[in-house]
Symmetry: C2
Subunit: 412 residues, 2 copies
Amino acid sequence: MVCEIICVGTELLLGSIVNTNAAFISERLSGMGVSLYKQTVVGDNAIRIKDALQAAFQSADLVVMSGGLGPTQDDITKEAACNFFEQEMILHEPSLERLKTYFNDRPISKFNLKQAMFPKEAIVIDNNNGTAPGAILQKDKKRIVLLPGPPNELHPMFEKVCKILSGYQRGIFLSKELKMFGIGESYMVEIIEDIIDSQTNPTIAPYAGDGEVKLRLTASADTEAEALSKILPVEQQIRERLGQYIYGTNDDTLESVVVDKLVKCSLTLSLAESCTGGLLASTIVDIPGASETFRGGLITYSNEEKINRLQIDEKLFEQYGAVSSQVAEAMASAVCTAIGTNVSLSTTGIAGPGGGTAEKPVGTVFIGLCYNGQTTWKQFFFKGNRKKIRTRTVKAALKMLLDRIDSDNNSD
Amino acid sequence: MVCEIICVGTELLLGSIVNTNAAFISERLSGMGVSLYKQTVVGDNAIRIKDALQAAFQSADLVVMSGGLGPTQDDITKEAACNFFEQEMILHEPSLERLKTYFNDRPISKFNLKQAMFPKEAIVIDNNNGTAPGAILQKDKKRIVLLPGPPNELHPMFEKVCKILSGYQRGIFLSKELKMFGIGESYMVEIIEDIIDSQTNPTIAPYAGDGEVKLRLTASADTEAEALSKILPVEQQIRERLGQYIYGTNDDTLESVVVDKLVKCSLTLSLAESCTGGLLASTIVDIPGASETFRGGLITYSNEEKINRLQIDEKLFEQYGAVSSQVAEAMASAVCTAIGTNVSLSTTGIAGPGGGTAEKPVGTVFIGLCYNGQTTWKQFFFKGNRKKIRTRTVKAALKMLLDRIDSDNNSD
């Protein structure tokens, strides 16, 4: 299958919202082995939508559209698509029933009623989070997928669409992602270049972003089990060389893996943050169930707070400065004791834009770790702006803790 | 001017990164009064880039392209654009000099050298954050703007481009944004519908996102002073009705305005966070210079931490629960005393997905504020997932503090 994506909406076109739908749809489809040629954004304009469809079907046999399925007169994507395929719309009774339930049997306006209209050939996709159902239209060997614009409605509906689309493909495509931190994309590719070059099934695609890298292994086969059996030995080969950087797979995040392992090992966590200023705690608390391991944190942003709250010896600041391995270790050790946990992390660094020196330039960060009474530290030099330096520090701290838990459990 | 945007890059096309550049460019251009017809994303493929340029120039006289200016063989956007305009590239000496400085006089590879090649008719745009200069190419009355893909390089370069482009426009367009929190988009529009309908210069466009709303006033005139004189009386009219929600203009954020006002009023800030778990502190620390007002914070995630760290009376928990106005007030008051600041904020709430009850459902949040010894609180019910509830709590807390500072200064 060759696919193009057309996102419809004046807010997208004028830049008032960022087009996350195109990325979401593209990533899912490319994972299924669908070829992607182009993404287009047009406004809610019948002529532009028609032009975009015409252009897309010159090379594609599948067009996925998002946006413009709402109840107002501006919303014309479905009408434009049906016009393009010369298909008439009739009332789709099951969708009307769902609308009635949605509106709790209050009267349904003619505007909402139009959302229940579809060509009789269409496959209608239910929407559990809004009033606009989606659809797959089909004519000859061409298909148009219609989805609403709000991501929380589109995401679950697109999963259903993918299941249907994979039925049109010969065989199935299965993807597995290996997620890594602590290695750059080009160095990662260098290490496994021979594996990448020698593999055609599964294919191996590297991705980078936000300081992390990942490899997506995509196998095609007749069954899921067969696809998995093609992926596993290649995954094994990759793990032998890159295992130390791989922290998880697929939907795992550094913070979800950390929280998961802390809970499994019955470890409790506290934090003492300076340069990250609460971002490390906030990242942990983002994970539902974090309260099973996370007790609390101290944001000791000023030196006085480090001294008063954590009882760190003032001499350390005079002798080594607040951004030093000595202060990082003292912070980690003190917060463990103060809050009474098995494990703690601390951060102290220069996030910029000011505060850098020749000896300790902007981006200098020390991370302290206290683990069952043993304290260690690591130094990093991160590049980028204030936000980037703080985000990298959080990820580095999580990875440092993860490695410690893993080595502890492997040595058992 | 009529503009189309073409973003080039396989990572965009396959969805491994979200296209924030298109939104950024679109928003800036539409603010300048440029008409936008289409955004396109294509891979690093000479034929597709040429097709996209051809299609774009059927209706546009300006095409802004991002991505594909890097040093590798994959990066072919500049070459494709020059081919399209049939312009030859020669070495651009000033860019070569900049590259030499960038590489600290280490030898420059032939790959990087190609980044200093441009048609002699081009206006070259310096890049202070990377090796790829941008350019404005021109042929007859058509223009192509070339910009690198990384947002931190593109943003400042595009500001320079906008200045040059505005010179090609008849008259100028000036925009001013009024930023609001605490009101929904549809209610805001309702309140000022008559003003919006009666205005053609400036135009008034509402935008919503991330729990905030904004109005963009765009005036066209011969000079900046004239445009401003058209905007000001309309802004005044709007402020009379919506003033209580407006926290700032243009690049202001809630956190930047809060930090700014705290510093100006010589107030010091501390935080006690439960449900936000460090997100409030982290949002404050994001602002460079936050250390001038922010001293530190306590993330008292568990009840034990609230009791031990903040010495909150255990009876409050038994009588009212951890998520209550009483605990919020006690947290705010205690952290002010503990850290020794004039001002503090506290948060306690149920961010979900678990933990909700009939009486206190998921989304119930109490925010405490201690301001020069006086303690107050507010209750909120936020909708959405864990992330959304925590983000809204942070914004609501910042707005609550802002209102307090303003009322304090107005009553002087």
